[in-house]
Symmetry: C2
Amino acid sequence: MKLIECVPNFSEGRRPEIVQEIAGAVTAVPGIKMLDQSSDASHNRSVITFVGAPAAVKKAAFSATQKAAELIDMESHRGEHPRIGAADVIPLIPVSGVSMEDCVVLARELGQEIGEKLGIPVYLYEEAALTAERKNLAAVRRGEYEKLKEAIGQPGRHPDFGPLRLHPTAGATAVGARPPLIAYNINLDSSDVQIARKIARSIRGSSGGYPSIKALGVLIEETGTAQVTINVCNYRLVSLARVFETVKSEAARYGVGIKSSEIVGLLPMEALLDSAAFYLRLQGFHSGQVLEKRLTEN
Amino acid sequence: MKLIECVPNFSEGRRPEIVQEIAGAVTAVPGIKMLDQSSDASHNRSVITFVGAPAAVKKAAFSATQKAAELIDMESHRGEHPRIGAADVIPLIPVSGVSMEDCVVLARELGQEIGEKLGIPVYLYEEAALTAERKNLAAVRRGEYEKLKEAIGQPGRHPDFGPLRLHPTAGATAVGARPPLIAYNINLDSSDVQIARKIARSIRGSSGGYPSIKALGVLIEETGTAQVTINVCNYRLVSLARVFETVKSEAARYGVGIKSSEIVGLLPMEALLDSAAFYLRLQGFHSGQVLEKRLTEN
């Protein structure tokens, strides 16, 4: 069963009726399964999560982008989160039976279609990027919608598809392919947020740790717990087990233990199977031995 | 998605054409997915593993029992494994969306149908048993086919369904419901089989360990590895992680480490998720957070 997950972000998080219309464009496509919808008013942004076969996902993402272009006017959009357009960012994520390369190909097809049929400039990012710089979404969104109006004319900021100017209401869209991101929190047996911050610095790529890890130290007020809040951006490179063990070892250096950990939202089965295999020292194990996985195969 | 796994054992392991006909009766039922087939010549016995929705599984198990009754003559059957009939034992195992109680109900319906329509006496066992004694399959099969011919007339050996005499060619059938069984081996960093045997004794129910665990100590000749070979009969009672940690702790008492472990065949996803959750100290985790699991739900 070929399945791709798509997690588009739209620049509307305050008017539920608009978000519902966009979500409706997604679910109208046969074979699409809606997994989640969430809106954030202060970011004025919504995230829709859905899965399906590659062709259906492409169709649904295109249709939602078209609907967002009709309903969202970037000229009047305000919000805290960086953004360049109505359908701001569209990542494609391999779930089963498809490779990252398949997602890259699909992202480029989708980008071309959005650019040509909707007249919205498209930037390819992460695994789908055509240049090293655009692998980084932050570089693509630099200056955001307001500054990109001018910047799009500069050679280094030319879009990969579509016109050389922003769409009058929908702005621009970033389309990419990436591995699944796992939101993972580790709670320390301490209320000292400084320790959580030091541990976060030791594991995250931006301060010399694992390049695929993002992390912050925070205090969970209601329980008085210092927490390392983590994005595991490529669990195949750095697994949950390795993150957990590294945090445990760093915490021990401050005489602090691990109270618990939490997975926020969804994660691929393989990420947990890998952790079980790590601790149980499983040899020769493959996910086809998992009954539920076997049932979806042929 | 309601799914039950069925793993019937048939008293034929030497004539592949007979086994194929029985398997064909299973796959002829729409909605059934064949997962595995294996035959053992010395046991003269075959195991077929399939899954499907409850009604389809009942139909397929009935149809395979009927076919086995046509093709297998217990009067001429010889083999090392204990058996009472052509379709010797039919366990039903909850996989997803069904409870053990659902499997018990289905096992009793299936048993009644086999007894009444095929004239084969049926004994309910394990979770489906009507008496404490018959929970134990060994008690149901005591004396095997040959001695059961007489014993079936004794009050304590009366079948739960069907006639008070063995079927002339098909004998009797045991129908039950049970949790999934996981075949799990732990390899010691030692070639001393005596240590593996001592560890096996310390964990298995029959010598005072965990009631849901069966275990033996063996020597894997080709690698010179002492191995604890284990049946985890109810991973919800005693998890893979607890078995691993108990074996590790017992091995340490002899100054021996764990080299690796292996899962033989299939296992439910939950058994590995539980292990990951144990080691990662996950709180508030539920299997609906697993993308693949979520995709099969509604």
